[in-house]
């Protein structure tokens, strides 16, 4: 964690105030100044911390550009585009189903995802996807550390958005810190009000996009602004607006460090073969300014203690203290450090993606290994295997699933019924599921019960026969009460109901159940 206890950032801050909006290359000069006042290795403090609680030091991260920052931009734009845009994609499913590509239809208990339609009894698909997401997180973490946290986690993405808003309204790091420290004037009040109203708009838009997944988006927008949408829509938007602004606008890295359970698990998921953002201390230490290093070659490492890596960090940590819980592996410090190294003419990669094993090897004078090699190792292979296996199993299940389904619930109270003509009747509740977006005729037949006839609650006993035909509405389950009668002398035995769709597919589902008769068991 960025515990400023032992480190006096004010030196850097003071310095920055005099030269606001400086380009990164001025960091070299910065560092010169910083080094003058700030010894890299202070003697350990001997006084004990008396505070139980600590005031939060707000993180004002500095703008940076570089390959990782550009990748972060890319991921941010893609994820946001997916989040905000998906509900607006249309998907023609015929006249009986909604035409929204991704829709969680809670009222009708359907989940639509492009060509796939999930029914409640198929929730294992969703469970499978959740398991894949979990194992995917293991896979990513074991391979590249907290990269999910650094790029794709919603908390990170929205924090990033809000930090850009800060930058847009208040300027870059130094200007923001100056404004934070400044007394409340009308100018500051207005500026803050402006900034927070942008926060609110973003939060509102975020909550608004969320509810689009649960109803037809264009209709919902229309109803929403006319005040005709369901109360739950307004409540959801209000709650999500509030949480987005609170968590993304104000809590930010506090969520990643104190609230999120993942960094706790992450420490168990990482090992010495995982690619993580590391500071190569054997190369950087001891820290010294360019001037000092020029005077005393071989005495100082590559790190000039310019603290650019700290200033750009969105969680405000110092990566040079080693791998730590607050590091979300976003690699912005790599961008910053590489730029400084370029400016002072030293090789890049003082802070870099590397495994702890590589670090040891390099420290011992070994050859650096290309980063991608770290990805291919048994542990990631096993995770990938499990992950891909579940994915293939889900795809297979999706491919072979039937669009008709029959469930049979025999009446158990009473189990059988003696009729006045001496025949024995059993009653069943059949559920006929038509999972296609068109009405379908289906035939129910009694199979394996000699002499049996059946009728349903809709046709009546006078039309009793071996088979009955019913129509099931598009995308619906139809509950049919079926009566099966066997002439005098029936005995308890097993038999089957066979459901057959009367269309070109002729899908068949057979369910075995029991016929009960008196005098048995």
């Amino acid at each position: 964690m960025s515990n400023p206890e032992g480190r006096d950032w004010s030196a850097v801050v003071d310095d920055g105030v005099t030269k606001s909006n400086e380009p990164v290359s001025s960091a070299v000069a910065d560092a010169e100044a910083a080094t003058r006042r700030h010894e890299p290795h202070e003697p350990p403090r001997t006084t004990l911390p008396e505070k139980l609680y600590e005031k939060r030091a707000f993180v004002h991260n500095k703008r940076i550009d570089g390959p990782f920052r550009r990748f972060k931009w890319f991921v941010m734009l893609v994820t946001l585009a997916i989040y905000y845009g998906t509900p607006w994609i249309r998907w023609d499913r015929g006249p009986y189903s909604p035409d929204q590509a991704v829709l969680v239809d809670l009222a009708n208990r359907r989940f639509y995802m492009f060509g796939i339609e999930i029914w409640p009894h198929e929730f294992y698909f969703v469970a499978g996807l959740l398991i894949m997401a979990g194992i995917g997180l293991f896979l990513v973490t074991s391979a590249v550390g907290r990269a999910w946290c650094g790029y794709a986690c919603p908390q990170t993405v929205w924090t990033d958005v809000f930090q850009h808003v800060d930058r847009f309204v208040d300027g870059d790091r130094n200007a923001r810190m100056r404004l934070d420290a400044a007394p409340w004037t009308w100018g500051k009040v207005l500026r803050r009000a402006f900034k927070w109203s942008i926060y609110l708009v973003i939060g509102f838009w975020t909550g608004g996009a969320w509810i689009m997944y649960f109803a037809d988006a264009p209709t919902l927008v229309h109803d929403f602004w006319r005040g005709e949408a369901a109360p739950v829509a307004y409540i959801t938007v209000a709650v999500l607006t509030l949480t987005t602004v609170t968590l993304g606008g104000f809590m930010r890295e506090q969520v990643c460090i104190y609230m999120c359970p993942w960094p706790r698990i992450q420490t168990a998921m990482l090992d010495e073969k995982s690619l993580i953002v590391t500071y190569k201390d054997w190369r950087g230490e001891p820290r010294g300014s360019v001037k000092k290093a020029a005077k005393n070659p071989d005495q100082f490492g590559d790190c000039i203690d310019c603290t650019q890596c700290v200033q750009v960090c969105p969680t405000g940590i110092d990566i040079r203290e080693g791998p730590q819980i607050g590091c979300i592996t976003c690699a912005l410090c790599i961008d910053a450090c590489d730029r400084v190294m370029k400016d002072i003419g030293r090789p890049r990669g003082l802070i870099d993606y590397a495994t702890l094993e590589d670090c040891e090897r390099e420290a011992a004078g070994g050859e650096p290994r290309p980063a991608w090699k770290a990805l291919l190792r048994p542990r990631t292979m096993v995770y990938f295997g499990i992950w891909a296996g579940i994915g293939l199993a889900l795809l297979f299940a999706l491919g072979v699933r039937s669009h008709t389904d029959l469930t049979v619930a025999p009446d158990r109270n009473p189990p059988f019924m003696l009729m006045s003509d001496g025949s024995v009747r059993n009653s069943y509740t059949l559920k006929l599921r038509n999972m296609e977006s068109r009405p379908r005729r289906m035939e129910i037949a009694v199979v394996g019960l000699p002499g049996a006839v059946m009728w349903t609650d809709t046709v009546g006993r006078d039309q009793a026969a071996e088979t009955q035909t019913v129509t099931v509405a598009a995308d619906q389950v139809r509950s049919v009460r079926a009566y099966v009668a066997v002439p005098t002398g029936a005995s308890s035995q097993e038999f089957s109901f066979r459901l057959r769709s009367l269309d070109e597919k002729g899908e068949i589902d057979t369910v075995t159940t029991r016929f009960d008769a008196p005098g048995e068991e």
């Binding site: 515990n3 206890e5 032992g6 104190y258 009729m419 009747r425 809709t458």
Partner: protein
């Protein structure tokens, strides 16, 4: 004994524990955490004031908002009642013999009847409506009806009951006890004849003559029963009081006849209508035969 020390690189005191060489730093908690804690206390105080909280001797404090779980239940029940009101209104208007024309309404009536059945009828007829041989409660699932099994008739039975004292419209009839009327041989012959009506035993002349003299007036010459009297059919497979010889003898010598309470005045007409629809739906319901073509005979008139 804990061994506290100051961690050199961070300058932070450790808490003094050590696990496999890993020590925990005593880092101060963020202050907002403390404020969150204070907020929960403020919330709790507000909650205690607003909602029922403190248990007193016979009740809890009521809370400033006056909310209670019972009150909420009553509110939700009344909302549900209002939601059902339109269905009940429709049901009140539709004559029961026309109910099957509107399948959606019928479905709702059956569902409502199923709920009412569980409260009012299962005590005698059983939760599956299968009745009881021993106690003589008819099975409502089968197709044998003492007094008739169409919607209208069932509704009438429900409304007025059977042998219900104090209800002028109640269905009433009595089988006379034949104790002392037959000698044992005659009784055996009669029982054999009755059982032969449904093919359980061989017919015999003595029994047939006894049956014709004593029983056919109500039960019919062939034992086909008489619904206007509630006289059971004897030539089918269903026996209200059991089909063993002993059961039959007892029923001839000391007949037992069931009583069913009337439900008018205890259940409203709509609920009775729904119950009738439910009982009719159990699998043995009969079609209503229109008799109103003859203006002299009113549909409402029941035996």
């Amino acid at each position: 004994m804990v061994n506290k020390r100051v961690d050199q690189p961070t300058g932070t005191e450790t808490v003094g524990h050590e696990w496999d060489g890993i020590e925990e730093l005593n880092t101060p908690l963020p202050r907002w955490w403390l404020w969150t804690f204070y907020l929960t206390i403020v919330f709790a105080i507000g909650y205690v004031i607003a909602f029922p909280a403190w248990p007193m001797i016979d009740r809890a404090t009521t809370g400033y908002l006056g909310w209670s779980s019972r009150g909420q239940l009553a509110e939700e029940m009344s909302v549900a009642d209002q939601a059902r009101a339109s269905v009940r209104e429709q049901l009140a208007q539709v004559p029961i013999e026309r109910l099957s024309d509107n399948s959606e309404l019928l479905q709702k009536a059956v569902a409502g009847g199923a709920a009412a059945f569980k409260v009012n009828c299962v005590q005698c007829h059983g939760s599956g409506a299968a009745g009881s041989h021993e106690l003589g409660y008819p099975n409502l699932n089968d197709d044998d009806w003492l007094w008739g099994g169409d919607l209208k008739t069932i509704e009438y039975t429900l409304t007025h009951g059977i042998r219900q004292p104090g209800d002028e419209g109640t269905r009433t009839s009595a089988m006379p006890p034949f104790a002392g009327a037959f000698n044992p041989q005659q009784l055996d012959a009669l029982v054999s004849h009755v059982l032969s009506l449904s093919g359980k035993e061989k017919p015999n002349a003595a029994g047939a003559s006894l049956f014709a003299d004593n029983c056919a007036a109500c039960h019919g010459a062939g034992g086909e029963g008489n619904r206007s009297l509630g006289a059971p059919r004897l030539n089918d497979a269903i026996w209200l009081r059991g089909s063993s010889r002993e059961a039959l003898k007892q029923q001839i010598l000391q007949p037992r006849m069931g009583v069913m309470p009337h439900w008018q005045g205890r259940l409203d007409p709509v609920t009775i209508k729904m119950l009738a629809a439910y009982v009719h739906s159990l699998g043995g319901g009969e079609d209503f035969v229109e008799v109103a073509a003859d203006p002299e005979v009113k549909v409402d008139e029941q035996p």
